[in-house]
Structure formats: C-alpha cells, structure tokens
Symmetry: C3
Subunit: 164 residues, 3 copies
C-alpha cells in the first residue's frame, strides 16, 4: 500500500510535514479536506491551512466519501482522518464498513497517499462517553492503516520521527 | 531487571505488542489483569482483550497485589499499571510502598516481565484535581520502572519505538 | 542557535533530563523559573523541583521577561515555556511579539540554552475554548523554537528520544 500515515498532536506541524511529503512527488497534487466549516473557529482553521498551500494543488471536499476522492494517479493528501471520523460518528455511519472501503481504495492506488491523523489517546481518560468512543475509534483506525502503510511518522514541534 | 515497559495511548496497540514480546518466550505465559469489571464498558474492554489472546496463557486477576502474581519462572504480562494505580488511588492505599514492593519483586525475577502503561500526561492539564494527581502518580511510577527496565517502548498506531 | 528544546508530558522526567544537559557544561548554571506560586499545589511543585537541584545553580524568576534572564555567557535552563505562555495568555500580552523577542535573544546567545516545554496536544480536543487556544499557542511556540534549535528531544518515563 503506497501510503504514509502522519500522526501528531494539535499544532504539531503534522499537516505541513504531510504536505512536504506529497510535494516531493511531481505536481499536480490533490488536497482532500475532510473538515466541515460548521463554526467560525473551524472556518479560521481551514483558512489558515489553505493559505499555507501554494500553486499545484487541486482541492476536494470529502466529509464522508473518501473513496471517490482517491481515484486517478495523482498524489493525494488526506487532511485529516480525525475530522472524517468525527463526521462519521456524528452522522451515525457504519465506521467499520467505511474503514474497510477506505483500505480497499488505498490498496488499489499506485500513486502516493499521505493520510494525516491526530493522536488523541495520550491524555487522561475523558469524562465524556462520546469522547471515549471517539478516542477508541481513532486509535483502531490508525492501527488498521498503519499495519499496511509503508511508512508511519509521528510529528511533534514540526519534527518527524520514523515509527515504521 | 529483566523487565520491559510498554507505554502508549488508548487503543495504541500497546497490549497487543506487549503480548507478542511475552510470546517470544516459551509458553506457558501468565497474564496478570489489574482491571476490575465495575461497569459494562470495562467488562466489554476486558472481554475484547481476552478474546484476542489464545492458548498457552494462564490468567490471574490482581487489582491490588501484583507481587504475588510475579512468583515463579514464567514470563509474565502485567496489563496494566494504569488500572493498578487507579485501584490503589481509589482504595486510598500507600502508592510509594506498593511501588517499592513491586520494584523489589521485579528485581528478584529472572524470567521476563512485560508491563503495560498508559501514557496519560500529554494532554491539557485536567481541571479535576484527582485526575491531576493520577497523572502525576502515573508519570512517577513509569519513571521508576523505566530507570531499571532493560527496555522501554512507546507504541502508537501499533508501531513500537525504542525509548531505551 | 545553541538551544535544545526538551518536550515531554506531565511528570515525564523532562525537567530532570534538561538539567542534566545543562550540567554537562561547566558551572555556574542559571535556572530560569517561569512559574508563579499562585496556589499551594503550584508552590509544592516549585519546591519539589528546587529540592532536586544542587549547588552551582543561580535561580532567577521570569514569569514574563525571559529575554533579560538570557544575558551573559552562563548555560541557562528555562523551565518552562508552558508556564511562561500561560502567564502571557492570562495577562493578555502579545504572544507573537514575545516569541519573536525570545527567538532573537536565543539567536544572540553563544552559551547553551535548554528550554523545557509540556507537550499538551495529544489528548482529546478540550471543551474549554481557552484550553484550545493555549494548546494551539503552545504547539506554534514549540514549532518556532524547534525550527532553529540544534536539538529537539521528546521525553517519556525519563527516557529521551532524539527528534532532531
């Protein structure tokens, strides 16, 4: 599976590092945004990320259907798995099925796919049951992708550590 | 001290990795469960972990008394330090004494002991004072074991990083 | 920039590791404390850290003005960026300006500066907006320092991992 999983915390520089991995391939590149701009804070975050990327990027929004966004032979950046999972949970979709379809699509791509994920499991157990469920689902999703990815990176303070 | 400390976040694959380290030694292996099934969510987690392990495992429950579970020359998996510490705190036991007894028992074992711990100190400072105390105690416990362990691993997304 | 950034979670042993890096240089060393003793818990933490350090240390308190504490040719330990940032936010100072001044001062030092920071972005998104802002500012600050630092370490359970 020609995929790289980039894990990191909030404002760890993981998206920026993931972009540099995609841009090491020849343009054009596809940016797959999974976040939905449901409030001002989220809109500010999306604008912040968009402003950083330059020419050569085709942008696609995929809050639910990641599979369609993976067609063709362009290098793809999926930013990020965490918001995609949030959307699936809030919309009460079947996460196991969605994950299997994603894995199938990743296996069939020969071009590079870089997937960004927030590591959210390294704090105190959340009091909120939905947060606990989200944390579990995120951990399982990352494990499934990491198992087949050809590289897994952990980013902190903009520095990347090779995990696999 | 023939011990390996395996740290990681929630659903990081740390227990699974720790199991594989124990199973690299000849069977039979002892699985020391520190969690108590006080609610349905916890029962589901315990069942989930039990289902994954196969033949060759002897299971022991040790919510408080880890020392007794470490007798003999079998390779042992302690899963996990975090629930053990939770039990000690909720039962108002002396943590420093319990830790010293555990360290003594680990020093006296010649067989492999793999200990799993949740890294919980990498989020925002919890508002809850008990959570802050727990986070401090967990960090100190991990440091004390890591100082004498022959290996310390950090697991994320099922991938293990050698810390020591 | 002759600086080392030491990142880690709560009670990860990061301060202790940072101290050993400074003490590898010839004494006297300067300890720059950014924390303010605003409650008993905080006072206990400060006393705990002070008790561990021995002779050869000059102690300076710098809740806001880190730049003045960096004068001269002594090796300096800044402990920690996280409390400094907390002070700036609570006092509504301009964080971008303060960061630029800090970076300038670090660039001008030829002696070693070791800066300790709490990694706080690896848990669930906090419900509290101030905590989310703090988490973002901390991540950006660490990235800016890491970009120019000659080494970046990640500490867990007292073990240090070379990130850069």
């Amino acid at each position: 599976m020609n995929s790289i999983l980039v894990l990191g915390g909030a404002r760890s520089g993981k998206s920026c590092h993931a972009e540099s991995l995609v841009m090491a391939e020849p343009a054009p590149w596809r940016y797959v945004a999974t976040g939905r701009a449901w409030d001002d804070e989220m809109r500010a975050r999306i604008a912040f990320h968009r402003a950083r990327r330059g020419e050569g990027w085709e942008a696609v929004e995929a809050p639910f259907d990641l599979v369609s966004s993976l067609h063709g032979s362009q290098p793809v950046l999926v930013d990020c798995l965490t918001l995609w999972l949030t959307n699936l949970i809030l919309d009460e979709r079947n996460i196991e099925e969605a994950t299997e379809s994603l894995l199938d699509a990743l296996r069939q791509r020969s071009a590079l796919t870089v997937l960004v994920g927030n590591e959210v499991g390294l704090g105190i157990v959340p009091e909120n049951a939905l947060a606990r469920r989200f944390r579990d689902e995120a951990g399982l999703l990352h494990q499934k992708i990491a198992r087949e990815a050809r590289r897994v990176l952990f980013v902190a303070a903009g520095c990347a550590l090779e995990m696999k």
